[in-house]
């Protein structure tokens, strides 16, 4: 499509205004509200016992969820791309389920499954508490973040094909050597992006997690839940802003770290597939 210069300018303005109003303004407002009273006020607000506990819990959930999603996400992507079996399309659809199901429904479903009246409720009599405890929050977070790694790795796997792996095999590499030396480096870019999305979503998940959390400050609140409770329950508007800023900072640090790690290696030499956005 060929556009005249005024038309190009108009399109640019529309896109920029749209981004500014919907993305930049709200974030800038929070940042301004957070840092306007001074850094020491912000520091104090994120050093309360409830905030430290929330930060720790959020990071713990990320630390459990990310490795699990990486392992099972890559395996699932391999099965979806390489496997030839009936039901492959169904499996592919199931992977997308978390995009389709409202997180709050996920929470309800988990309570019905793992709660004391649920199918696996028997665990509670053995002293293993899932719902209203950390395991439940982890399971809920896995549920909502499951598609990210799969969906980012899948197109990369499809694109690289199997020839490089076959070549490695003819050169004597075992299955594991082929995976770790050929497949993994080839999908690293997609995997990195999947991890970033997983971390962001795990930190920010609200609906599914609030259903299965007991919500006690300092015990079972994630940072996101803390933002909510400070704002709604405590009417501590400033505290909510400060916690929100902390959340954003963690997400940005994650993004920067992953980008830096990726730069260090020669991955830049082959063109990454374009990123696809998800809900």
């Amino acid at each position: 499509m060929i556009l005249t210069t005024p038309a190009k300018l108009a399109l640019r303005v529309v896109a920029l205004v749209y981004l500014a109003v919907l993305l930049a303004f709200p974030i800038l407002t929070i940042l301004w509200r957070t840092f306007a009273p001074g850094l020491d006020v912000f520091w104090a607000s994120i050093r309360t016992p409830a905030a430290i506990s929330a930060l720790n819990l959020s990071l713990l959930i990320v630390a459990i969820v990310v490795p699990l999603n990486v392992v099972f996400g890559v395996v699932t992507a391999l099965v979806l791309v390489r496997g030839r079996f009936p039901g492959r399309r169904l499996l592919s659809g199931v992977v997308d389920l978390p995009f389709a199901v409202s997180p709050i429904v996920v929470g309800v479903a988990l309570i019905m499954l793992w709660g004391s009246q649920g199918w696996f409720g028997g665990l509670e009599t053995l002293g293993i508490r899932v719902i209203f405890s950390v395991p439940g929050m982890v399971i809920a977070t896995i549920f909502v973040t499951l598609p990210f790694v799969v969906r980012e790795v899948e197109p990369v796997l499809r694109e690289i094909g199997t020839e490089q792996e076959q070549a490695a095999t003819t050169l004597g590499a075992s299955g594991w050597q082929t995976f770790s030396r050929i497949t993994l480096p080839a999908i690293r870019w997609g995997l990195t992006y999947g991890i970033v999305l997983t971390v962001a979503r795990a930190l920010g998940e609200f609906g599914a997690v609030i259903m299965v959390s007991s919500g006690f400050p300092g015990v079972s609140q994630t940072l996101t839940l803390l933002v909510h409770s400070r704002y709604i329950d405590d009417h501590n508007t400033y505290g909510a802003y400060a916690a929100a800023t902390l959340l954003m900072m963690i997400a940005i640090v994650t993004l920067l770290l992953m980008t830096l790690l990726d730069r260090k290696r020669p991955a830049a030499h082959f063109a990454p597939t374009p990123a696809r956005s998800h809900s």
Partner: protein
């Protein structure tokens, strides 16, 4: 030596290999030649262990490797699309097989330097595959396959993705390399010119079966059947006989043509000149049999064409000096 016996392979109802047996002598450069879908790549991949045979056996140097994985077959494999390890430098690509084998560093360095020299990539060792041309990538892939000292080198349409000029150079280079290294080499190709140019033995495959095996001369001069004949070069069809266009003699004088024909026992055909195409040293005479309305062509040298002084619309008598019967299963050779 590589020996394949009674190999069968089916994909669903499609028989990729239908009772194929083939011996490939040590030190030879054998081409598996055939159209797409003829089973030539399947056969090569079965020798490599990248494909499992439904029935039959593969022996390399006397050892039955039918049930061995590719890692244990002592092979080097080169793919049509290079299969370069994109995240590794040229050097790391070539060293891969040696690193996997945990050879000492000094030995790896020496061997890789040597191979990069052989394939002419010494100055490119720190580049990534994306920074190389297609021909360079394929030479890198060859060095990588040769690094592990394979008993057999298997090449799957190695020049198929390259430009005509690069393909020619690389083909000649491969022939020289083979004369130096002497590793038993099997090359899959659908290009008869490539097979004739580079191989010392050719196996022609068609529809999952081997049609004929022999030296390039044997196959070109004495094709076992019309398929082999037409696959290995141009063919002119005169009624139900087949002949090479350069084996056709044209006569303006009917009586002389008939006299020659009676002496040799090969019939002459009356034809009309449709078109004359001068291609450098040769002249292509496009001919038509008026009664059968069949078109074919003859290749003459410039001098022969000048002697005949042909014009479009002239009537000539065509006498093949060598023919292959075009119908029936039994090959009948004359001439």
């Amino acid at each position: 030596m590589i020996r394949v016996t009674h190999a069968h392979k089916a994909y669903g109802t499609f028989a990729a290999l239908d009772d194929v047996s083939l011996d490939i002598p040590s030190g030879s450069l054998t081409a598996l030649l055939g159209p797409s879908g003829s089973g030539k790549s399947t056969l090569l991949r079965a020798i490599a262990g990248l494909e499992h045979l439904d029935e039959g056996a593969v022996l390399i140097a006397g050892e039955d490797v039918t049930h061995l994985p590719p890692q244990k077959r002592g092979i080097g494999f080169v793919f049509q699309h290079y299969a370069a390890f994109k995240h590794m430098t040229v050097r790391d690509n070539v060293a891969f097989g040696l690193v996997i084998r945990k050879r000492p560093k000094s030995e790896i360095n020496r061997r890789v330097d040597e191979l990069l020299e052989v394939v002419g990539l010494a100055g490119f060792q720190h580049r990534y595959p994306a920074q190389l041309s297609g021909g360079q990538r394929q030479r890198m892939a060859l060095a990588r396959a040769l690094a592990v000292d394979p008993q057999v080198l298997l090449l799957d349409e190695p020049f198929g993705a390259l430009d005509a000029k690069v393909r020619d150079d690389l083909r000649r280079w491969l022939r020289r390399l083979h004369d130096e290294v002497h590793v038993t080499t099997v090359l899959v190709t659908h290009d008869q010119e490539e097979a004739l140019d580079v191989a010392d033995r050719i196996a022609v495959l068609n529809a999952g079966r081997i049609e004929q095996v022999g030296s390039p001369e044997e196959l070109y001069e004495n094709p076992a059947n019309p398929f082999v004949m037409s696959f290995l070069g141009s063919v002119s069809r005169l009624g139900d006989t087949l002949a090479r266009p350069h084996d056709l003699r044209l006569e303006r004088d009917a009586s002389r043509a008939h006299a020659e024909a009676d002496a040799s026992g090969v019939p002459v055909t009356e034809a009309e000149v449709d078109r004359l195409v001068r291609l450098g040293f040769e002249v292509r005479v496009e001919l038509r049999q008026p009664e059968a309305d069949e078109s074919f062509f003859a290749q003459l040298t410039r001098d022969e064409a000048a002697d005949l002084d042909l014009r479009v619309g002239d009537t000539v008598w065509v006498r093949p000096t060598r023919t292959l019967a075009g119908t029936g299963d039994v090959p009948a050779l004359a001439g």
